[in-house]
């Protein structure tokens, strides 16, 4: 249904061209949930905005690639055609619910705008539909809340309103860019639960973007791991979490806090600076930070290659080499831990 082919989205800045998305390909099928994960600054939002064609142009430009939605290349559509797709076929919710609603208009009006942009119907009917949507996203007393202003809602409630806006025209794809990052942990869980429920009810495909592997594990069936504007590993959730084959994904997983391990709880950060996207490193972009990097890695840029039916990895190490290197490193660390005790 949606196919992104070798997409590049670059941004002109005074310091040079930021290669925020640099050759990304993937496919989304109807009804499936795809997670995109990566450190902050890896290009997830620029990628998401590219699909909606919402990156400001300029400074953003698309030097290469295609975004095919139902056979049409979104990069070549007129603004007028794109508007028919936005909100109607593909809808998006954003990271910060506090600033994503217009502070001077009533919530009901902003919701009705989403409906009336694509459907010609009397206002009273749109209002009925808006109230239904608010009910669907779990807002209590929806008739009354229609007349409230955004500042009268909590962060979690605003995100629910934004989800209702996104659902207004029953889209085929819902893109959620860090939908819970700005929220409390308990609210986070409620919003994720809500997204699962509405997917069941409305049946759309979801692209969920997060820097939090926990969120991805909970929601996604397929996962794309992004690093410096590229996909470095993709596969089913099991592939990514249980057959991790890329040193960067492995580092991300290790940076999760673990409560289950017998030694003390740890929270590792991936060492080193995120890469400069104006002058990315030579060879494999991850080599300056990769614990397993070899001389080869500085020279050769690994392509995304198939490991199993759905599992693709961009790394010069073979599966066996990676397992061996991982084992060696874990041994060294355990010895280090023992010495500390």
């Amino acid at each position: 249904m949606l196919e992104v082919k070798n997409l590049k989205a670059h941004i002109d800045t005074p310091d040079g061209v930021v290669k925020a998305v640099d050759g990304v390909s993937f496919i989304i099928k109807p009804g499936e949930t795809v997670g995109i994960v990566g450190e902050s600054g890896s290009g997830k939002s620029v990628l998401a905005h590219s699909i909606m064609q919402l990156n400001p142009k300029p400074p953003t430009f698309y030097p290469q690639g295609e975004i095919l939605f139902e056979g049409r290349n979104l990069l070549q559509l007129q603004e007028k055609e794109l508007r028919k797709i936005r909100g109607n076929d593909i809808a998006m919710i954003f990271q910060d619910p506090m600033s994503s609603l217009n502070p001077v208009f009533k919530v009901g009006e902003q919701l009705m705008e989403a409906i009336l942009t694509h459907h010609h119907m009397p206002k009273s009917k749109a209002k009925q539909r808006a109230i239904e949507l608010l009910k669907d996203v779990g807002i209590p007393d929806p008739e009354k809340r229609m007349n409230a202003y955004p500042h009268q809602f909590s962060g979690g409630m605003r995100q629910r309103v934004l989800i209702a806006i996104a659902l207004a025209c029953n889209p085929k794809i819902l893109i959620a860019d860090e939908p819970t990052t700005a929220l409390d942990v308990t609210i986070q869980a409620q919003i994720l639960e809500l997204m699962k429920n509405i997917q069941e009810k409305y049946g759309m495909a979801i692209i969920i973007i997060s820097h939090d592997l926990g969120v991805i594990a909970q929601m996604a069936e397929k996962v794309l791991v992004m690093y410096s504007g590229r996909i470095v590993e993709k596969g089913n959730v099991e592939d990514i979490f249980f057959h991790t084959s890329m040193p960067y994904t492995w580092s991300l997983l290790r940076s999760l806090p673990r409560i289950d391990s017998e030694s003390r709880e740890r929270l590792l950060n991936i060492e080193g600076q995120p890469p400069n996207l104006i002058h990315p490193p030579s060879g494999c972009n991850f080599h300056p930070r990769c614990p397993f990097a070899t001389e080869q890695c500085k020279l050769i840029d690994p392509e995304l290659t198939k490991r199993s039916s759905n599992h693709f990895v961009a790394c010069l190490l073979s599966e066996v080499e990676f397992k061996e290197a991982k084992r060696l490193m874990e041994n060294v660390e355990q010895e280090g831990d023992l010495k500390h005790v």
């Binding site: 909606m52 936005r86 600033s99 994503s100 609603l101 217009n102 502070p103 705008e113 009268q152």
Partner: protein
């Protein structure tokens, strides 16, 4: 909202009180004995003393102030020394021309500034934007009197489309009124347009990539609707303050313009009264202008609440 309005209204009282003290001091504590100034250099000390008594100038300043203040409350601003008319009456007679001038220039300003700003923001990535910036800077830097003289020469003398001076009350005909006020109105507006359009452009550009505009664009809303509805309604809030300051500033601008175009307004009254050393009128006019200033600020505050629900429902 009622609460907010009441608070604003109450806050005015101390301001007006302080304003009255300052106005009084400006007139009474500046060097130069009014009686002496009125009677001239050759007057005898007896005559001066007599006039001081008559005007109440021999009493202590504090008493004079409270006498004056007490009278203000019943709408009595004193009597003109020159024409012996009541000051209140004189000011009321001069209000029509001044307010007409302010309304016309303000309407002209808004009619030009708002569409210009929206258009520039729409074309924000083209050369129009830097052109607009230079243009607005030029506009705000033009001295009013120079532009006034230029327009009078051009459209009043060389190609006599407009009268170069005078005023016709609106009650004597809308067209004549407009005909006489258009040129001075344009002069006053020319200076303000740049300022307001610039301010509106700045705050619109600040809003144009805010998250809520992404939500709106994400709904499939037209870019023109995003700008005119979502961005404009937010950018208007800070711009209101500038518009308020501008309206207040127009009061000052009218002094010059009324003199150039011989429009019998409050500004001209002030200038004439200063020439005549008619201090009750000076006092009255300055106090009145200060009062209008405070009133405009109040209106801006109320407008703020009207435009911004976050203030309305505090």
């Amino acid at each position: 909202m009622l609460h907010y309005t009441l608070r604003r209204l109450l806050a005015i009282i101390p301001v007006l009180f302080i304003v009255s003290i300052i106005v009084f001091m400006i007139v009474h504590l500046t060097p130069g004995n009014p009686a002496y100034l009125i009677l001239g250099e050759d007057s005898s000390p007896e005559a001066i003393e007599q006039l001081e008594q008559q005007l109440g100038l021999d009493k202590p300043k504090v008493i004079q102030y409270f006498d004056w203040l007490g009278n203000i409350f019943v709408g009595d601003l004193g009597q003109s020394i020159y024409s012996e008319q009541a000051v209140t009456q004189i000011i009321v007679e001069r209000l029509g021309p001044t307010f007409s001038l302010m309304v016309i220039s303000m309407l002209l300003t808004i009619i030009v500034a708002i569409p210009t700003a929206i258009f520039i923001v729409w074309k924000r990535n083209t050369v129009l934007d830097p052109l607009f910036l230079s243009g607005s800077l030029l506009g705000t830097s033009i001295p009013e009197f120079w532009l006034a003289l230029l327009l009078v020469l051009g459209l009043g003398v060389s190609v006599p489309i407009f009268p170069v001076a005078g005023y016709i009350p609106i009650t004597d005909g809308l067209l004549g009124w407009l005909h006489h006020l258009l040129l001075p109105g344009i002069v006053l507006a020319a200076v303000e347009v740049g300022l307001i359009a610039r301010m509106l452009r700045d705050s619109m550009l600040e809003s144009v990539n805010q998250d809520y505009t992404k939500t709106a664009r994400g709904k499939g809303v037209k870019e023109s609707t995003v700008l005119m509805k979502h961005v404009f309604s937010n950018a208007l809030i800070p711009t209101t303050t500038v518009i308020g300051v501008t309206v207040a500033g127009l009061l000052g601008g009218t002094v010059i313009i009324e003199t150039i175009f011989t429009i019998p307004g409050v500004g001209q009254l002030l200038i004439d009264s200063i020439h005549r050393r008619d201090y009750p009128v000076i006092q009255g006019v300055v106090l009145f202008v200060a009062f209008v200033y405070v009133l405009i600020n109040l209106i801006v505050d109320l407008l703020y609440a009207f435009l911004d629900p976050r203030i309305r429902y505090d």
